[in-house]
C-alpha cells in the first residue's frame, strides 16, 4: 500500500512559544513553526495502514523551505518513509484553492497512491477546505471525519467509521473502493489488536526516529516545473479569494466595575436580586419576549 499524508506547518500556538505584538498580531518571526497538530491523526492513520499492509508512507507539504523541518517532525514524531516538499516563490500567498491545485499535482507526480490522508483543519487557517479541494482535482471517493479505519487489501475496499456532521454522538460506517481520499478527525484512534502488528509498530517507530536524524536523505523538493504547473494557476495569481482585511477581536476589558456585597447583608442582597431581575427582563425584551 502506498499512502500519502498532507501536512502543513503552523505557528506553535502553545503558551510560551507563540508571540503577539501590541496590536495582537502574530509575530511569525518570533514564533516557531511546527507541524499542524491535527495532521498527527492523518499520519497515525497512514502508519496503521503501513503496519497492517506494508508498503510506504510519503508525507507531502506545500510551503516555504522552512517546512522541511515540519516534514522532519512528521517523520520523527509519527512515521514517514519519504518526504516531499513542493516549494517555490511562485507558490507564495496561495489560498486554499491554489494550495489544493498544487498539492494534487504533487500527488499525481507520485503515481497512484492507494490512500491520500489529510488532517482536519489547520491551527491557523482553519478552513478545512484544502483536503476536499485537493481531492476535487484528484477525483477519488472522499471520506471525511474518519475516526477509525479498516482496509481490505484483497477486496480493494476501505471501511471507515466517521462522525456524521462532525458529531461524536452520531457515527456511521462507510465503505468505498480504493484508491480513496480520507480526512481524519481529531477523534481518530488507530487500532492494533494483534501482537504481531504491535511488534511491527514498535520496529517502525524505531526506524522512523533513526531515519528522521538524516531526513534530508529522504527528502525531495519540487518546484512548479517539476509538478508541471502553470504559474498562473498557483500562488497569489491562482488564488480566487482575497483576504481584504483582518480585524483583531477587541480584548475584553481587563477590569470591570465591581461592587462587593456581603452575602450576610440581606438588604444589599436584595439589591443584587433586583439588579439581576431587571437585567433578565431587559434580555427578554431584547429577544422579543414579553
Amino acid at each position: 500500500m502506498h499512502t500519502v499524508v498532507l501536512t502543513k506547518g503552523v505557528p506553535d500556538f502553545r503558551e510560551g512559544q507563540v508571540s503577539f505584538d501590541e496590536d495582537g498580531h502574530l509575530e511569525r518571526g518570533k514564533t516557531p513553526t511546527v507541524m499542524n497538530p491535527n495532521d498527527q491523526f492523518a499520519l497515525e492513520a497512514a502508519l496503521q495502514t503501513r503496519v497492517r499492509h506494508g508498503g510506504r508512507v510519503s508525507v507531502m507539504s506545500m510551503g516555504p523551505p522552512g517546512y522541511k523541518e515540519v516534514l522532519q517532525e512528521a517523520m520523527a514524531s509519527v512515521y514517514a518513509d519519504d518526504l516531499f516538499l513542493v516549494s517555490d516563490r511562485e507558490m507564495a500567498a496561495a489560498d486554499t484553492w491554489a494550495t489544493a491545485i498544487t498539492l494534487s499535482a504533487g500527488i499525481e507526480k507520485l503515481g497512484e497512491p492507494d490512500i491520500v490522508f489529510a488532517g482536519f483543519k489547520t491551527a491557523d487557517g482553519e478552513t478545512g477546505h484544502t483536503g476536499p479541494q485537493a481531492n476535487w482535482c484528484l477525483d477519488m471517493p472522499l471520506v471525511t471525519h474518519v475516526i477509525s479505519l479498516d482496509v481490505d487489501e484483497e477486496e480493494g475496499i476501505l471501511r471507515a467509521k466517521r462522525l456524521v456532521e462532525g458529531d461524536i454522538e452520531e457515527i456511521e460506517t462507510v465503505e468505498t473502493s480504493l484508491p480513496a481520499f480520507v480526512v481524519t478527525d481529531p477523534e481518530f484512534v488507530p487500532s492494533y489488536r494483534s501482537a504481531g502488528h504491535r511488534l511491527t509498530l514498535k520496529d517502525l517507530r524505531k526506524e522512523t526516529k533513526e531515519r528522521a536524524e538524516h531526513y534530508e536523505d529522504h527528502l525531495t523538493v519540487w518546484d512548479h516545473t517539476d509538478v508541471n504547473l502553470d504559474p498562473d494557476y498557483i500562488g497569489l495569481d491562482g488564488s480566487p479569494t482575497i483576504v481584504s482585511s483582518v480585524d483583531p477581536i477587541p480584548k475584553a476589558p481587563a477590569e470591570r466595575e465591581a461592587t462587593m456585597v456581603d452575602p450576610d447583608d440581606s438588604e444589599a442582597m436584595d439589591d443584587v436580586l433586583e439588579a439581576m431581575q431587571s437585567a433578565l427582563a431587559g434580555d427578554a425584551a431584547a429577544a422579543g419576549g414579553d
Partner: protein
C-alpha cells in the same frame, strides 16, 4: 476451532523472572512473545532491593544479561549491619558474613531502571527469533480449549495461543489464580513491603555511610520501634539515593490494625537514622507491594498443562531471616522453566516441560531454599502460641536477660548462621522480643537527634504518577461490611483511619433507624500492592495495560 495468533512461547510479565525466561527461550532459538502491563517494564514494580547472585544458583542475572551490574544496578553492597532497637537503645551486629554466605555478588537496584534495561535486551533478543516484548498489555486470563490451557486473553489484544506459557506476573498473579494454583485468602502467607526512595548526592552518601564510589551499605532494623508488628526495616544505598522501607507479616499488620506509612515513619524518624538523614529529607517516591512467604506458599509443582509459573507468581520469595531473596530465585526459576521446555521439546515431549521444571527446581537446590526442611520440622513446635509465649516469657525474664548477656559474644555469630536464619519461626520472638531484649541488655543509648519530617500520606499520593482508568475501577468491593473488608482501611498503604484521600474509608450509613458500619473504595490513589486482595472481600485484578500507578524508581 478459531484461528488465533500463535507464538511458540508466551511470557507474561517482564520482571526478573519473565526477563530470565524470555532470554533463555531466545537462547534456544524459540519464538517468544513477552507481554507486560506497565507503560514500561519496571513501572509497576517495587523491591527493596538487593539482588543476589548466589554461588549455588543455576542461573544468575549477569549470566543471562552481560553488563547487568555496570548498566542496570546501583551499588554493590559491601557492608551489612542489623540494628536491634529498644527505645533509643541500639545494639548493632555486623551481618556481612550472612550476607556474603553463598554470595558471588549482591547489588542494590531500582526497579524502573533495572527492569527497563532488561526489557530492552529481551526485546532485541526475542525479536531475532520472531517474537518480541510488548508493554501496555494486561493479560486478564487463560484461554482454554476443551478444558485445556492453550493461551491467554488480554484487555488490549485478541486472544493469543502458545505451545508454552510462562506466568511471571509477580505477586497477585492473575494467571496462577485462574489456573487454580493460588488463592489470596490467608494473610499469614504474605508480607507487605512499603518503601520510600530518598534523594541523596553521591558525595553525601560516601561521607555518611563511609563507602567508596563502588561500595554500598545495607542496614536492617528490628525491635520495639514497629508497635509490635512482626517484621523489620531496611536501608540500602543506591548511586544517588537511598531505599528505605519496611517488610511486615500481613497477618500481624492486620491484627495490630497498624498503619503501614506510620510504621515507615517510625523508622525514618528514629534517632538511629539521624546519622544518615537530616532535615533536607527529600522523598522522591513512596511505594508498596505484597511479598509472598515461600516457606508457606512456594508451589511444589508450579505448573499446569502448558502453563509454568515462576517467581513471585509461584510464591518463590525467600525470607532468609532478615535477608530477602526474591529476584534471584525468580531469575533461576524463569531460566529453568524455559530450559525445561526446550529440553522436553527436543525429546519430543513438550508436554513434560512442567514436570521437568519442577524437578529442576528441586535438583538445583532452589526448592530447598524456598521451603527449608528445618523450618517445616520446627514450625509445628515453634509457631504454637503457647511456645511463643513461653519463649518470650523466658527471654524477657531475668533468666533470659542473663542468657542474652552471657551470650553477648556469640550473638553476632549466631545471627550470621545461614541454617539458623532459614529456620526462624514466624512469631514475634525473633522479630520483636529478641531484638528488643538484646538492645535493652546490651545496647547503647543513641544521642543523635533526627530532624526528619516525612511527608504525610496525602503528599505522598500527590507525588505519585497515575493514569487513572476513569469509570473502570480494577478492584470491586464484594462485601462492604466492616467485618469483611474493614481491615483494608488501615492495612492499605495509601489509606488510613480518618484520612479521606485514600482508597479505603470507613463510613456509617443509616438504614431503618439502625446505623451500619461499612467501607467504601476509591481506586484512584491505589498503588496496586495487592493487600486488599487478601485482607478484604474484593474482586481484584490489575488495571488495564498502561493504566494506574507508574513508579519511576521502584
Amino acid at each position: 476451532m478459531t484461528e488465533y495468533e500463535h507464538y511458540e512461547a508466551l511470557v507474561v510479565g517482564a520482571g526478573p523472572g519473565g526477563a530470565a525466561a524470555a532470554a533463555t527461550f531466545a537462547n534456544y532459538g524459540i519464538e517468544t512473545l513477552v507481554l507486560e502491563r506497565g507503560v514500561e517494564a519496571g513501572s509497576k514494580n517495587v523491591s527493596g532491593g538487593l539482588i543476589y547472585a548466589e554461588e549455588s544458583a543455576p542461573y544468575t542475572i549477569d549470566d543471562l544479561f552481560p553488563g547487568f551490574r555496570e548498566e542496570a544496578a546501583e551499588r554493590p553492597i559491601t557492608t551489612y549491619r542489623i540494628h536491634n532497637i529498644a527505645g533509643s537503645k541500639v545494639e548493632s551486629f555486623d551481618l556481612t558474613r550472612l550476607h556474603e554466605h553463598d554470595t558471588e555478588w549482591s547489588d542494590a537496584v531500582l526497579r524502573r531502571k533495572m527492569d527497563s534495561w532488561l526489557a530492552e535486551r529481551v526485546h532485541e533478543r526475542t525479536r531475532e527469533t520472531g517474537g518480541g516484548l510488548l508493554t501496555d498489555v494486561h493479560v486478564n486470563g487463560l484461554l482454554r480449549e476443551d478444558g485445556k490451557i492453550v493461551g491467554v486473553t488480554t484487555d488490549e489484544l485478541d486472544p493469543i495461543t502458545a505451545d508454552v506459557i510462562v506466568a511471571a506476573d509477580g505477586v497477585n498473579s492473575e494467571l496462577a489464580r485462574d489456573a487454580g494454583l493460588m488463592d489470596w485468602d490467608e494473610p499469614e502467607e504474605w508480607f507487605q513491603g512499603v518503601k520510600a526512595v530518598v534523594d541523596m548526592p553521591a558525595d553525601v552518601i560516601a561521607d555518611r555511610f563511609d563507602v567508596g564510589e563502588d561500595e554500598g551499605a545495607a542496614h536492617l532494623f528490628s525491635g520495639d520501634l514497629f508497635s509490635g508488628v512482626r517484621g523489620g526495616g531496611f536501608l540500602y544505598t543506591n548511586r544517588e539515593s537511598l531505599s528505605l522501607g519496611t517488610v511486615f507479616h500481613l497477618d500481624s499488620l492486620v491484627a495490630e490494625r497498624a498503619e503501614p506509612h506510620e510504621l515507615l515513619d517510625a523508622m525514618l524518624t528514629h534517632p538511629l537514622l539521624g546519622q544518615w538523614l537530616d532535615e533536607d529529607y527529600v522523598e522522591v517516591e513512596y511505594s508498596a507491594k505484597l511479598v509472598p512467604d515461600s516457606k508457606k506458599v512456594a508451589l511444589r509443582e508450579p505448573h499446569f498443562g502448558r502453563l509454568m509459573v515462576v517467581g513471585d507468581a509461584a510464591g518463590q520469595m525467600q525470607a532468609q531471616g532478615p535477608i530477602i531473596k526474591g529476584m534471584n530465585h525468580a531469575v533461576s526459576a524463569g531460566a529453568l522453566a524455559a530450559e525445561a521446555y526446550a529440553q522436553a521439546k527436543s525429546r519430543n515431549s513438550p508436554e513434560d516441560a512442567g514436570t521437568l521444571y519442577a524437578k529442576k527446581l528441586k535438583r538445583e537446590g532452589v526448592m530447598q531454599k524456598l521451603r527449608p526442611q528445618g523450618y517445616e520440622l520446627m514450625r509445628g513446635i515453634t509457631e504454637r502460641d503457647s511456645v511463643t509465649d513461653l519463649v518470650d516469657g523466658v527471654l524477657t525474664s531475668s533468666v533470659g536477660r542473663f542468657g542474652i548477656r552471657a551470650l553477648s559474644g556469640q550473638l553476632e555469630r549466631l545471627y550470621n548462621t545461614p541454617a539458623l536464619s532459614s529456620m526462624i519461626p514466624d512469631t514475634r520472638t525473633p522479630y520483636v522480643t529478641l531484638p528488643t531484649v538484646i538492645a535493652e541488655e546490651l545496647g547503647t543509648k543513641i544521642r543523635e537527634t533526627n530532624d526528619v519530617s516525612p511527608p504525610d500520606l496525602e503528599a505522598r499520593i500527590e507525588n505519585l504518577t497515575y493514569d487513572t482508568d476513569i469509570g473502570n475501577p480494577h478492584i470491586t468491593l464484594l462485601d462492604n461490611s466492616f467485618e469483611a473488608s474493614g481491615a483494608a482501611v488501615s492495612a492499605c498503604p495509601v489509606s488510613a483511619v480518618d484520612f479521606g484521600g485514600g482508597c479505603y474509608r470507613e463510613e456509617f450509613v443509616r438504614t431503618n433507624g439502625s446505623e451500619e458500619r461499612v467501607v467504601s473504595l476509591d481506586t484512584q490513589p491505589c498503588v496496586e500492592c495487592g493487600t486488599c486482595a487478601v485482607v478484604a472481600d474484593t474482586e481484584w485484578t490489575h488495571p488495564r495495560g498502561g493504566k494506574g500507578v507508574e513508579f519511576n524508581q521502584g
